[in-house]
């Protein structure tokens, strides 16, 4: 079987001591930033991007991927112990997880979350191995019109699943597309919107933007809400779930995994939405639904499996189509491009060691996390007590050095400061920065495919509607957009995000 041959290639490339080491480093850093509140995976992946350039592509991607799913693990630790979600995707875990620790069952909650995440991670690795190759094969037949439509779908989905006003999210996307245009036009060599800065000839670096908006901007927003009180951590006693706990967590873990893997594939979906959805579903169908909010083990098991599944499933569109579904995936695509790997369906055939190596490393990484997290819980607890006023200057130091070292230019640091201001202002205006970053990376690709498609059709825009695959993709996008506008679904969408 092709898949087993693929997985064998993957194990071969992921099990080298060098790659194992970077997998371990990745999940370790991931857990660390997951535990530290106020520092998200997007900012961290951006900060470590310059350091990953010196590694071979496989090791670099394995490490960056480890950071991403490691952060999902770490985020839940603080949710359970101190009622403070380390990541947005573990917000719902605070509801029942913290209640469990108040009842002296913090250890069980942590173990449940680790077991659920490990199960979800393992299943998702298999799902990726099963579905990615056929998807990549279909995608190999795609021409310029199909790619353009696919990117439209990606952007539409990121709007539909973003929080808050639809119109503002669309505005942020168009803004991102425009920022993406800045730089040298590939077709004509014209310098567009560079305003005479030669540093802008290669365009605005998305790492700079990500650090500015998710790093610096986020810090200013956090400082505004800064409290003065210290956090109190619950004591951890027994880690082992009882027989009754085991029985109650099995079904929610399976349901959470299924929901998470499905939602994770959708652009803009990912871990955040998956955890919210899994919690609401579980609350409705569980026999113990009434206990939710008072420390029900299902309320930890379901969202924790779902966010891990969602985080991993979002690798499917990234690896097979070269389409990012979240800012972190967008950064990963950027890392691939800088490493000289052209993202898209050809990655699987041209770079089997990279493709399968990354997939298999996720399973190994999940195993590391299970072994790493439970014994080291004491260290993580101490770390999540690091007060924010000591943490954020350190984040700024890493952002500053990281962004400068991208091309040894002070210009990038100034640009980061500018995007920091923008991140703060858009945060105050409730305009989501994630769709903007996504659009910024997709922008140049979209323009390129649009131009090629129009050349192909001799200037006839109906080409997007006459090619069946392209039409199908656009119809899905249209249905998603219309559905989001319908009042009934709109109310549900708002409700889904208000569970906090």
């Amino acid at each position: 079987m092709e898949i087993f041959a693929g997985l064998a290639t993957g194990f071969h490339s992921a099990l080298t001591p060098f790659n194992l080491l970077y997998c371990l480093i990745g999940v370790f850093i991931g857990t660390l930033i997951g535990v530290l509140p106020g520092l998200g995976p997007a900012a961290t992946v951006a900060m470590l991007m310059p350091a990953s350039f010196v590694l071979p592509p496989v090791s670099a991607l394995i490490m960056l991927a480890g950071i991403y799913y490691g952060a999902q693990y770490g985020g839940s630790t603080t949710s359970i112990l101190v009622n403070l979600p380390g990541e947005a995707s573990s917000i719902v875990t605070t509801l029942d997880g913290y209640q469990m620790s108040l009842k002296g069952r913090a250890g069980v909650a942590l173990a449940t979350s680790a077991i659920g995440s490990f199960f979800a991670g393992s299943v998702c690795t298999l799902i990726i191995a099963l579905f990615a190759p056929p998807l990549a094969k279909v995608a190999l037949k795609f021409g310029a019109p199909e790619y353009f439509s696919l990117m439209v779908l990606g952007l539409v989905a990121s709007v539909v699943l973003a929080r808050g006003s639809l119109l503002k999210a669309i505005g942020m996307i168009v803004l991102g597309l425009l920022f993406g245009i800045i730089g040298t036009d590939v077709n004509s060599g014209t310098q567009r919107y560079t305003l005479g800065f030669k540093e802008l000839m290669d365009g605005i670096g998305f790492v700079t933007v990500a650090m500015g908006m998710f790093g610096v901007g986020e810090i200013i927003l956090n400082l505004e809400r800064e409290g003065v009180a210290d956090r109190i951590v619950s004591k951890i006693t027994s880690l082992m779930p009882t027989r009754e706990d085991w029985k109650r967590m099995v079904a929610p873990i399976i349901r959470g995994t299924a929901l998470g893997s499905f939602l994770g594939v959708l652009p803009g979906g990912g871990a955040l939405l998956a955890s919210f959805a899994a919690y609401s579903v579980e609350k409705k169908i569980s026999k113990h639904g009434s206990e939710f909010g008072t420390g029900a083990i299902e309320g930890v098991a379901a969202p924790e499996s779902a966010n891990n599944a969602g985080a991993q499933a979002s690798f499917i569109p990234m690896l097979t189509l070269g389409i990012p579904t979240s800012p972190v995936m967008a950064l990963m695509i950027g890392a691939m491009i800088i490493q000289g790997v052209q993202p898209g369906p050809s990655v699987m055939t041209d770079q089997p060691a990279l493709f399968w190596g990354v997939i298999v490393s996720m399973w190994i990484g999940n195993l590391f996390l299970l072994v790493l997290n439970l014994p080291m819980i004491g260290l993580w607890v101490r770390l999540c007590l690091v007060p924010y006023h000591l943490l954020y200057p350190a984040i700024l130091v890493f952002c500053g050095i990281g962004v400068f070292s991208l091309s040894n230019s002070e210009f990038d640091v100034h640009l980061m400061a500018l995007f920091g201001i923008m991140g703060y202002i858009f945060g105050k205006l409730e305009c989501e920065p994630a769709p903007m970053l996504l659009a910024m990376i997709l922008g140049p690709m979209m323009e390129e495919h649009l131009r090629r498609a129009m050349l192909l059709s001799r200037g006839d825009p109906t080409i997007f509607l006459t090619r069946p695959i392209s039409l199908g993709i656009l119809l899905v996008a249209a249905v998603a957009l219309v559905a989001a506008l319908l009042p009934a679904i709109r109310a549900k969408r708002e409700e889904a995000f208000k569970e906090e």
């Binding site: 803004l175 800064e226 050095i401 400061a417």
Partner: protein, 153 residues
């Protein structure tokens, strides 16, 4: 309250979109437009700029009719301090060198916190400057001078 539309979040989002959209569309006229079949470098940005301006306009008009929640107070002090710390770092990196530029970065940015205290901030600044110099310059070999030109580096 009717008088408050100019303070609402949607109004300012719309105004920003409108301004940026118009700027991109207007400036895009400097580049050849081409035709739909052979798009010039000006085609896509002009199209998008106009679209953004339109979205902005809809938001602005919508809030004038039905004002939404206000922006609230901006934390100007924190915004300025954090931005200033970045800009200072960039300006002083080659002149004072990494170590001193980092001390400046940490002190200025730490001042933005409610819990700022001189002894803690100083210790943090010195620690981070020393640590980063060792890790990034000595161990990872980044080409950044630890001592800048103003200090005879």
């Amino acid at each position: 309250m009717k008088a408050n539309w100019c303070r609402s979040k949607d109004f300012w989002s719309g105004a920003i979109f409108l301004g940026v959209g118009v700027a991109f569309a207007a400036y895009g006229r400097h580049y050849p437009m081409g035709t739909a079949m052979r798009m010039g470098p000006g085609y896509f940005p002009t199209l998008l700029g106009s679209l953004l301006a339109l979205i902005g306009l809809i938001l602005v008009i919508h809030t004038m009719l039905r004002p939404g929640p206000g922006v609230g107070r901006l934390a100007w002090g924190k915004l300025v301090l954090v931005t200033l710390s970045n800009v200072l770092f960039a300006l002083m990196l080659r002149r004072l060198g990494l170590a001193c530029a980092l001390v400046l970065l940490v002190l200025v940015s730490a001042y933005a916190s409610k819990r700022f205290r001189w002894p803690v901030a100083l210790a943090l600044a010195v620690g981070l400057a020393a640590g980063s110099s060792i890790i990034f310059v000595w161990l990872l070999g980044l080409p950044i001078p630890i001592r800048g030109t103003w200090l005879g580096g």
